[in-house]
């Protein structure tokens, strides 16, 4: 079964079967084949004949593949609902990550910069405080890229067509590039401070190239690994 197994794996993944079921199916088939081979050998066949007979008893690639693809409930979510996997889920994840980032920023502002009108720029911070704000920046700017990598990894692992993953990556890049965070203490009574976000190409000309550059940077950093993973999978299939 050394050769049929990789072929069966590719067929099942391309048919949209969730990778965890494919993995388990192949593991069970391997065990079953070992049992059949041992049984045939006990019946007096040579090792080679026993393996051939065991393969025949196990079933052909078409039969094994069709039996699995008939079980629609074993398909992955990325095939059953690609709009949710590559559209809604990344948006929710990004919203969650950015909510956490803004909360860290707001709490850092409140704790470490109580007198400042804004948490951005010009403050001399060091040590733990600096680490705190840098971690926040990393989360804010890294979230779209990490989510993009997640999209690419899922799509490459499940041998999906590129349309939905690329659409998801464009969406994340667009949102990531046009997002702007603003903070102000003056608009809120009692000086608590207010942090918000909006999504725009910018009201002033210098902001437009920045937003486009940011979106393109996110897109490049996420699309390129995806294309490389696709190439790697294709290469490993034909090797």
């Amino acid at each position: 079964m050394a050769k049929p197994l990789p072929e069966l794996r590719e067929r099942l993944l391309r048919a949209g079967i969730a990778p965890r079921y494919v993995r388990r199916y192949l593991a069970e088939l391997t065990d079953h084949l070992a049992d059949l081979t041992a049984e045939e050998q006990r019946a007096g066949r040579s090792r080679a004949d026993a393996e051939t007979a065991a393969l025949l008893r196990l079933g052909g690639i078409d039969e094994l593949s069709n039996a699995m693809t008939k079980q629609r409930q074993l398909q992955s979510w990325s095939v059953r609902a690609p709009w949710a996997t590559f559209g809604l889920a990344p948006l929710f994840l990004l919203a969650g990550a950015w909510f956490a980032a803004l909360f860290i920023l707001w709490s850092g502002w409140k704790m470490f910069l109580p007198g400042a009108d804004t948490p951005f720029g010009g403050h001399h911070v060091s040590g733990f405080v600096n680490l705190y704000f840098q971690a926040d920046r990393a989360l804010y700017f890294g979230a779209p890229i990490l989510i993009g990598w997640g999209i690419g990894l899922i799509a490459a692992r499940q041998r999906l067509k590129a349309v939905w993953p690329i659409a998801g990556l464009f969406l994340i890049a667009l949102i990531g590039g046009t997002a702007q965070v603003h903070a102000s203490r003056t608009t809120v009574p009692h000086g608590l401070g207010h942090i918000g976000m909006d999504f725009t190409l910018g009201s002033t000309m210098p902001l437009i190239p920045y937003a486009l550059f940011h979106a393109l940077a996110i897109l490049s950093l996420t699309v390129l690994p995806y294309l490389l993973w696709r190439l790697q999978k294709a290469h490993s299939l034909f090797a």
Binding site: L29, H32, R57, A67, K70, Q73
Partner: protein, 118 residues
């Protein structure tokens, strides 16, 4: 070696019934299930043995079976057992197949011994 002759319609509900019936008696892993089907049906039901696993996975996904990994004689196997959902499904399937086989039997008997048609 020529390919073995199998029952192409085996997948249409019959494996579910046989698997649920077998697993209701005791927990088994895939190879045991196939051997039990072969021996208890006197090999009348022949099938590519690997196709039993998609049925098992589908039943487990539907909540009719529960799987657990168990090591026996140094080999790790996935054993399956029937859940209450599976028991209800078995009862439903058994009723359907009992009715169906009764109807077919009646039809066959009627064809053999019934009145001649013009």
């Amino acid at each position: 070696m020529a390919p073995r002759e199998t029952n192409p319609n085996f997948m249409n509900g019959v494996p579910e019934l046989l698997i649920l019936r077998l697993l209701q008696q005791e927990e088994m892993y895939g190879y045991e299930i196939v051997q039990a089907i072969r021996s208890r049906t006197d090999t009348v039901i022949a099938v590519g043995e690997g196709v039993v696993y998609p049925v098992l996975h589908g039943l487990e996904r539907d909540g009719a079976l529960k799987a657990r990994r168990k090591t026996v004689n140094g080999r790790s196997r996935i054993y399956y057992t029937v859940t209450p959902v599976g028991s209800r499904r078995l009862a439903d399937l058994s009723e359907v197949w009992t009715n169906l086989s009764g109807a077919i039997q009646k039809m066959l008997t009627g064809g053999q011994y019934g009145e001649a048609t013009p």
